[in-house]
């Protein structure tokens, strides 16, 4: 039995990368959210039912809310009793301050709230958001990390009008259960309980987030009990780890999807037949079995399984070489040479490229692998300088618009999302209408209609919806998986058994 290397009241998480910045108005990475999400509270949060997170929201700081007729004015009533780590209460002013700050700083996280026109503190416990136009997913956007409520006292640390960005980059000033106590760059972040936390007293006296870059090392440390949780274990090692006594593998379906962009504006992929041929030529199950070791499912439509709006009956391409050949012949193209654009960001991308090379060879298509640094790759994506590229996508908030509107709206050509340069006016119309509506059933219908067209036109090759996995000591309790909160743990509700 491996020794209990960590304290009972300390939780140690091993992650592969250092957070970049701890300011919720600045950071855009999951690695940072591991620390920032628990350090701040938001107006709403995801519900937990039967120990599992759902994509539905409930109040966190907010007790209740109302929305006006046309969906442009949202009024929240705060619950009270929530306090920042310095003991000051979380009031309407603080909410207004946080959103004003977010929008003023104007970095990545503010983008979700571009529809917000103004935020007003009506009284101590009432805040009112006015939107420029109705925005269906507004409520669900309030759970994102950027919507964390920051203590206005932070302004004491402002330097040269930076709205305290310098300070918050490596400190926290929220009302969440744990606050950042120290951060040795590249090594670890130590979090300690917020003495004024409004919720029940947490079990842990300390949470340590350690940066262990090598997967191998993370694995060894977890097996030895130096870590309680180890993120990002390569699939190949999961089965071996599962055998180790004291280790549990958390393995859950996620909204994390991987797909291929086909450049819809560049010959020959502007030909729908060619795109369809490619979609038929790929050995989906082979990829899932071979690369993910079966830890995933083939995508069916753009909206992943588990998210509302998912359509279990939409058409799914399957590996059919004959059909692919036929379609290609119909398109009248041969001896194709296509580039495959990828980066090292996701190790699977390279493997997918290798499989693609192998899969398309029988069609007489030669695939050239082109690897670039991720920023370069993105630039090429932005400008459409590729034939085939690979991409991963997770939703920021739990709404099908995260997929449908981002992926298919022709206005988003070259932006994150529609990197296939897909254009279909009918689809545009459907998804735009769906985005502004506030009735879930109505919206579902519109999205499914649009999805059917887009899938038929094979704008993307929809590869797989991957499982989310990490390894955990089996004495860690209270973890509730939520597909929207990858790499985020609710430390306040977790504990360890003796």
């Amino acid at each position: 039995d491996p020794a209990q290397a960590t304290d009972l009241h300390t939780l140690v998480i091993g992650k592969s990368g250092d957070p970049d910045n701890l300011d919720p108005a600045v950071t855009m990475t999951n690695n940072s959210w591991t620390a920032t999400y628990p350090a701040y509270e938001r107006l709403v949060r995801f519900k937990v039912e039967d120990g599992r997170g759902t994509t539905e929201v409930e109040g966190e700081l907010a007790e209740s809310w109302t929305v006006n007729e046309d969906g442009t004015v949202w009024t929240f009533t705060l619950a009270g009793g929530h306090k920042f780590a310095d003991g000051s209460p979380v009031d309407a002013e603080a909410v207004k301050f946080s959103f004003d700050r977010l929008l003023k700083i104007g970095k990545g996280p503010s983008d979700v709230f571009s529809s917000v026109e103004k935020v007003e503190a009506v009284d101590d416990r009432t805040v009112r958001f006015t939107l420029k136009e109705p925005f269906g997913p507004f409520l669900s956007t309030l759970v994102v990390d950027g919507a964390g409520i920051v203590n206005p006292a932070v302004m004491e640390h402002e330097v040269n009008g930076d709205m305290a960005q310098g300070y918050l980059a490596d400190h926290s000033m929220g009302s969440g259960a744990f606050q950042v106590a120290s951060w040795e760059k590249g090594q670890r972040i130590v979090m300690e309980p917020n003495p004024h936390y409004g919720g029940p007293e947490p079990f842990f006296e300390q949470v340590v987030i350690r940066i262990v870059k090598e997967a191998t090392a993370r694995r060894l440390q977890l097996e030895k009990g130096d870590l309680d949780i180890a993120e990002e274990i390569p699939v190949d090692q999961l089965s071996a780890m599962a055998e180790v006594p004291g280790v549990t593998i958390v393995d859950e379906p996620s909204f994390y999807v991987t797909y291929l962009y086909l450049n819809n504006e560049r010959a020959p992929l502007d030909n729908v037949k060619v795109r369809q041929a490619l979609s038929y030529a790929i050995d989906y199950q082979g990829i899932i079995d071979g690369i993910l070791l079966g830890q995933g499912i083939q995508m069916r439509g753009a909206i992943p399984k588990g998210l509302w709006g998912h359509d279990p009956s939409v058409m799914q391409y399957e590996y059919d070489l004959e059909k692919a050949k036929a379609l290609l012949a119909e398109a009248g193209v041969e001896d194709l040479k296509l580039s495959y654009l990828y980066a090292k960001t996701d190790p699977n991308w390279e493997l997918i490229g290798l499989v693609l090379q192998q899969n398309l060879a029988p069609l007489g298509i030669e695939v050239e692998l082109q690897e670039f640094a991720y920023p370069t790759m993105r630039d090429k994506l932005d400008t459409g300088d590729f034939d085939i590229a690979v991409g991963n996508w997770t939703p920021d908030y739990a709404d099908p618009s995260m997929f449908m509107n981002f992926w298919f709206d022709s206005e988003r050509h070259g932006l994150a999302g529609n990197r296939s340069f897909y254009t279909n006016p009918k689809v545009d119309e459907l998804i735009r209408e769906a985005a502004t509506g506030s009735d879930q059933a109505e919206r579902t219908k519109l999205y499914q209609e649009a999805q059917e067209i887009a899938v038929e036109e094979a704008a993307y090759v929809l590869l797989f919806q991957r499982n989310y996995q990490f390894a955990m000591r089996d004495d860690v309790e209270g973890y509730a998986y939520n597909p929207m909160l990858l790499q985020i743990w609710d430390f306040a509700r977790m504990s360890k058994s003796e």
Binding site: G290, I291, A373
Partner: protein, 304 residues
């Protein structure tokens, strides 16, 4: 005719009482003799020959197509079918290590060739020209030498796009100053040799002096340095590949293979181990042989 003026017709006139050939002259018998006495250099030579043979006969030696993937046979342990096991897309590692010799050794030679070629020409010219031109060139080289070379290579490779050719160029560029210095030093010292001065006295052109006197006589130390450098170049190129800035898939390259295999070290130790060993052995070969050559050619180390 008097005794004093008779041509030396004696059979023993070949006498070279000063022992082995002069400091820079080349005597194959001497080289061979020294090599034989230096078992390590022989080991190096044998390794180099083996590596070169592997490189040339890769298609014959490799049991499989190095790029054929087989997702059903991923990460197979070494066995009779796959002596070195397979990688995470089921490619035969032995075949990839064998083909890797082509990439790595070619890259090594290319890097040294490029940096040596440019370096020697610039250095010889600079040394012979002297004066202001020399000063400017050498200051420039000083600057280049002070560059954090590996990081520059990394940045260049990253910016130009990770690619073996770019990595090669990047490494070659930052190595040029070494050869410039070496060749310039040679030129400076040879410039003072009486035979070069003599050549000046009968009106030789600068080109003649460089071609006939400087180049042939500065070659030995430069070649020795080059041999040693091939090992370094192979290591550097594989290091760039290791951090993902060198060879691209599906090219078989040792550094990239170690890099890909590092995550599998614990359960599939063979994956990073064999390509790493290949780098090590090849570099050892060139270094041992280069060391041996240096001992032979370095006049300072010659027994008096």
């Amino acid at each position: 005719m008097t005794v004093t003026d008779r041509p030396e017709t004696l059979p023993s006139a070949e006498a070279d009482t000063n022992g082995p050939a002069g400091a820079t002259s080349f005597d194959w018998r001497y080289v061979w003799y020294q090599l034989r006495r230096s078992p390590l250099a022989i080991v190096g030579l044998v390794i180099i020959i083996l590596v070169l043979a592997t490189m040339i006969f890769a298609p014959v030696l490799a049991p499989y197509d190095p790029n054929a993937i087989n997702l059903l046979n991923r990460l197979a342990a070494p066995s009779f079918e796959h002596w070195f096991g397979t990688d995470q897309v089921g490619r035969d590692l032995l075949s990839r290590v064998i083909y890797g010799a082509r990439t790595s050794v070619t890259v090594g030679f290319a890097i040294v060739g490029i940096s040596m070629g440019f370096g020697v020409v610039i250095g010889a010219f600079s040394g012979l020209a002297g004066g202001r031109i020399d000063t400017v060139i050498m200051r420039f080289m000083d600057v280049l030498l002070s560059f954090p070379s590996f990081v520059m290579a990394m940045a260049l490779a990253a910016a130009l796009g990770p690619d073996l050719i770019n990595a090669m160029l990047a490494i070659a560029v930052v190595r040029i100053p070494f050869y410039v210095r070496l060749a310039r030093g040679q030129a400076l010292s040879l410039r003072e040799r009486p035979y070069v001065k003599a050549a000046v006295t009968f009106g030789s052109s600068r080109l003649h002096i460089v071609r006939r006197h400087i180049m042939p006589n500065s070659l030995a130390p430069i070649i020795v340095q080059g041999t040693l450098d091939i090992g370094v170049a192979i290591l550097t190129a594989s290091a760039l590949s290791f951090i993902g800035l060198g060879a691209q898939q599906p090219t078989a390259e040792w550094g990239a293979m170690v890099s890909n295999g590092r995550d599998f070290l614990l359960d599939q130790w063979w994956y990073p181990t064999f390509p790493g060993l290949a780098i090590l052995i090849t570099a050892v070969g060139f270094n041992l042989f280069g060391d041996g050559l240096r001992d032979i050619f370095d006049p300072r180390l010659r027994a008096k």
